[in-house]
């Protein structure tokens, strides 16, 4: 079975600063996808970034980037130039490939302080 662990229940960051959210996972699969989702107070889950395990290059989406360490089974999310709108719960998720079931971490609540 796959497990996803987010060890930081809560974090805060000053506006315009950089913050890194941690995620580790446990799997015996060799091919899989990893995701970071954002859930703001509005409750709508939004995809932030996706990483294919076979790709060595870390994914980047504007201010969001990941540090994917396959051997260490680590998948951290870095948010640069934090904005007030980044305040949300962030969930790390794993999906084996091929396959369709997602496994989510318990989330990290991020607060951006003005």
């Amino acid at each position: 079975a796959q497990t996803v662990t987010q060890s930081q229940p809560e974090m805060s960051v000053q506006e315009a600063e950089t913050v890194t959210l941690s995620c580790t996972y446990d799997t015996s699969e060799s091919n899989y996808y990893l995701f970071w989702y954002k859930q703001p107070p509005s409750r709508q889950m939004i995809l932030v970034i996706r990483q294919e395990a076979y790709k060595q290059q870390n994914a980047t989406e504007n201010r969001f980037s990941v540090n994917f360490q396959k051997a260490a089974k680590s998948f951290s999310l870095k948010i640069s130039d934090s904005q007030l709108g980044d305040t949300a719960m962030y969930f790390c998720a794993f999906m084996k490939h091929p396959g369709n079931q997602f496994y989510f971490g318990t989330g990290t609540s991020l607060t951006v302080i003005p």
Partner: protein, 116 residues
């Protein structure tokens, strides 16, 4: 285009009553998922539909929970004889995921269920 929609957005029901929660996935998405999110918690997988295949019901917590997906599109999650511990936000997601997998899920806004 239209995203995943869910109805109702909020539902208050009395203990012991049955409830139905509806999910309209994105058109063309073959995969549909239901999750439960209790207050301050992560997402708990409930059930997964893929095309015309038999659903993966491995996450349903009890036989009071059931779901169907008609015509490969709209899905209904039914909770019979609701209990207070069923109070949670129920999220639906859809994806293009086929046999290859790997496609991200698109989530609906959820239905907040409160059992009194």
């Amino acid at each position: 285009g239209a995203g995943v929609s869910q109805s109702p957005s909020n539902k208050v029901t009395e203990k012991g009553k049955d409830v139905e929660l509806r999910c309209d996935p994105i058109s063309g998405h073959t995969a549909l998922y239901w999750y439960r999110q209790s207050l301050g918690q992560g997402l708990e997988f409930l059930i997964y539909f893929q095309g015309n295949s038999a659903p993966d019901k491995s996450g349903l917590p009890s036989d009071r929970f059931s779901a169907e997906r008609t015509g490969g599109s709209v899905s209904t999650l039914t909770i019979q004889r609701t209990q207070q511990e069923d109070s949670a936000v129920y999220l639906c997601a859809s994806s293009l995921s086929g046999t290859g997998g790997g496609y991200e899920q698109y989530f609906g806004p959820g239905t907040r269920l409160t059992v009194t």
